[in-house]
C-alpha cells in the first residue's frame, strides 16, 4: 500500500529532474566552479608577498641574503630604499606587506656571532598574513645563516616551509573535503526547499494534500529522489576532488559514502524545515543559501578552528551538520579514520538531521490545522 502511493510521487519527481536539464547542469557545474575557486583562490599559502628592503650594510653578505629572498617564490622585492624612516610609508601607501632592514654592521656581526639581528617589520592590519610573513622570513634566515656560517662547505640545509607552518591548513587537501561538506549541505537544502516551495506556489501541494496520501509519504516522496540525486552529486565531486586536486584517500570509500548518505539526509531535513517556513521559491532559495553556507563557512571549522572560538559559538557549531561531517570526511580521507574513531561525530550529525526533520514534520502537520 505504501509503495503504490509513494511510487507515483517518486516517479513524478524524477520526471521534473529530467525535464529541467539546465538546472541539472547547474547542479553539476556549480560544484566544479566552487571547487576551482576555493581550491585555488583560497590557497592558504602566502606567495609573492611584496616586501621592501632597506640595505644599510651594502656588503656581499647582505647582497647574498637579498639574492636568496628574490629567488624565493614567497617574496617579491618591490622596493629598495636607503632611509629606514621611510618604512612606514610603505605600509600606508600599500606598497609592501613587510619590510626588511639590514643594519650597517650586518656583515661584521655575521662573521662574529651566529646571531645577526635584522629588522623585520610587517603590516599588522592583516594579522594572519603578518604572522605568516614573519614566520617565512625567519625560516629563510635560519637556512640562510646556517648555510653562511658553514662557510662554503657545500651543504646548504634545506628546510621545507610547508612543513613548518600550519602543516594541514596550507594545502588543497585540507580545503577540498571542506568544500565537499559545504556543497552537499547547500545543494541538499536548496533542492528540497525549492521544489516544495514550487508546489506551494502552483497549488499542486494543496492538490496532493486533499488526497488520502499521508504526510510522511509526502515527505518521503520528496526525500528519496533528492537523496539519490544529491548522493550522485556527492560521488561526482568526491571523484573530481580525488582526481583533480589529488586529495589523498587513506580511509575506505564505502565508509565515506555511507556517511555521505546520512549527511545528505541532514541537508534534506534542513531543506524540508525551510520549506515549511516560506511560501515562494525565491525566499526558499535565499534562505537555503544563507542558512547553510554562512554557518558552514564561518562556524564549522572549515576556515576557523572550532576550538579557538568563544564558547557560545562553539555550542552553536555543534548544531551545524558540516562541523561533524568535516571531522568525518577529513578523518577518513586524510587520516584514514574508520567508524571506530568517527562514531561520535556520526551520531551528532545524524542527531541534528533527525532533530530538523522532526521539526519539519511537526510544522508540516501544524500547517494543516
Amino acid at each position: 500500500m505504501i509503495n503504490s502511493r509513494l511510487m507515483p510521487l517518486i516517479r513524478k519527481e524524477f520526471i521534473h529532474i529530467r525535464r529541467d536539464p539546465r538546472s541539472l547542469l547547474i547542479l553539476f557545474l556549480m560544484p566544479l566552479l566552487m571547487m576551482f575557486i576555493f581550491g585555488y583562490a583560497i590557497d592558504m599559502d602566502l606567495k609573492h608577498i611584496r616586501i621592501g628592503i632597506c640595505d644599510l650594510s651594502r656588503t656581499p653578505a647582505s647582497r647574498d641574503l637579498i639574492e636568496t629572498l628574490s629567488a624565493s617564490p614567497y617574496f617579491n622585492i618591490v622596493v629598495r630604499y636607503s632611509d629606514p624612516r621611510k618604512t612606514e610609508s610603505l605600509f600606508t601607501r600599500r606598497i609592501a606587506r613587510a619590510a626588511l632592514i639590514i643594519p650597517a654592521d650586518f656583515a661584521r656581526r655575521l662573521a662574529g656571532s651566529p646571531e645577526s639581528p635584522i629588522g623585520v617589520i610587517a603590516d599588522g592590519t592583516d594579522a594572519n598574513s603578518a604572522t605568516l610573513v614573519q614566520n617565512y622570513l625567519e625560516n629563510v634566515f635560519v637556512s640562510q645563516s646556517l648555510s653562511m656560517s658553514s662557510n662554503g662547505s657545500g651543504m646548504p640545509i634545506r628546510i621545507k616551509a610547508r612543513m613548518l607552518y600550519n602543516p594541514d591548513m596550507v594545502s588543497a587537501h585540507f580545503v577540498v573535503p571542506g568544500i565537499v561538506a559545504l556543497l552537499l549541505i547547500m545543494i541538499g537544502a536548496l533542492l528540497t526547499s525549492v521544489t516544495i516551495a514550487r508546489e506551494k506556489e502552483t497549488g499542486t501541494m494543496e492538490q496532493i494534500l486533499v488526497s488520502p496520501i499521508k504526510p510522511y509519504e509526502v515527505v518521503l516522496g520528496k526525500a528519496i529522489p533528492y537523496l539519490i540525486l544529491a548522493f550522485v552529486i556527492a560521488v561526482f565531486i568526491l571523484i573530481f576532488g580525488r582526481l583533480w586536486f589529488e586529495v589523498p584517500m587513506l580511509g575506505s570509500w564505502s565508509t565515506l559514502l555511507l556517511f555521505c548518505v546520512f549527511y545528505v539526509f541532514t541537508a534534506l531535513a534542513i531543506g524540508m524545515l525551510i520549506s515549511t517556513l516560506v511560501a515562494t521559491q525565491q525566499v526558499a532559495m535565499m534562505l537555503s543559501l544563507v542558512g547553510t553556507l554562512l554557518p558552514s563557512v564561518m562556524l564549522s571549522g572549515f576556515v576557523f578552528p572550532v576550538a579557538s572560538m568563544p564558547l557560545p559559538l562553539q555550542v552553536v557549531s555543534k548544531i551545524i551538520p558540516a562541523t561533524h561531517f568535516l571531522v568525518i570526511i577529513r578523518g577518513i580521507m586524510l587520516k584514514g579514520n574508520g567508524p571506530m574513531e568517527l562514531w561520535p561525530s556520526f551520531l551528532a550529525m545524524t542527531g541534528v538531521g533527525v532533530f530538523f526533520i522532526s521539526l519539519a514534520v511537526k510544522r508540516f502537520r501544524m500547517k494543516l490545522k
Partner: protein
Amino acid sequence: MHAPSALPSPPAVSVRNLTKRFGDFVAVDNVSFDVSQGEIFGFLGANGAGKTTTIRMLTGLLKPSSGEGTVGGWDVNREYEKIKTRIGYMSQRFSLYDDLKVRENLLFFGGIYGLSSQKIRERVKELDGSLNLLEMENRRTVSLPLGFKQRLALACAILHKPPILFLDEPTGGVDPIARRYFWDLISELAASGTTVFVTTHYMDEAEYCHRLSIMDKGRIVEMDSPFAIKKKYGMTSIQDIFIQLVDR
C-alpha cells in the same frame, strides 16, 4: 434501530454553525447548510466572502475554529483522513504539473489515490468521450489551451470516482464556450449521482445550480433554488439580486 434502507439517503454534506477565525478576522461565520446526494450546490460570493475557506474546511485542508459538519458521513473535525478518500477537489488554479505530459499528470493524480496505471488508463478511456484528453495525451501541460487544462484538472479530480466533488471557481479565465461545455459536464456528473459543491463569482453560472447559497462577509445571506430566489425578490437576474444583497 438499524434500518437505513428505509430512510431517505443522508445528506452528502451537512454543516452546522461552521466557523473559521484567523486571529480577529472571521472568515466564515456560523454557516449551516445541507447538500443532498446528486445535487449541484452553488456557493456564490464576492472575492473574500469566505467561499474558499469553507471549501478548505470541508476538504480537510483547514481545521474549523468551531462548529461541526460531515462530508460523506465523516466528521470534518476528526475524520478528515477518511473524508479525503470520498472527495475530489479541483482548485481555482487548475493545479497541474506544467512540465509533465497530460498522460503523466493523469498517472500521478490517479496514483496518489492508489489507482494502478492500468486502472487509470481504463478510467481515462471511459472519460474520453466527454473530456477528449487522449488526443493530446503526449503534450506537455504547459502548452495546452486553458480550456483543455481545465478539463484535465477535472479529470484528475474524478479519476478515483469520488461521490462528492468540490470545485473552487473552476471556470476562472476560461472562454464562454469552454465554460458552457464545462457546465454540461458537471450536469452529467450530477445526473449520474455525484454531489457537486461549486463556488463561483460568475452570476450566469448560478443558473446551472440546483440550489444556491449567497455568501457575504463570511455569512450565508440567502439560500434556495435560483428560481425561488428570483421569485422571492421579484427579479429576473441573479446578478441584480446578488448586488442588492451584498450592498446592504
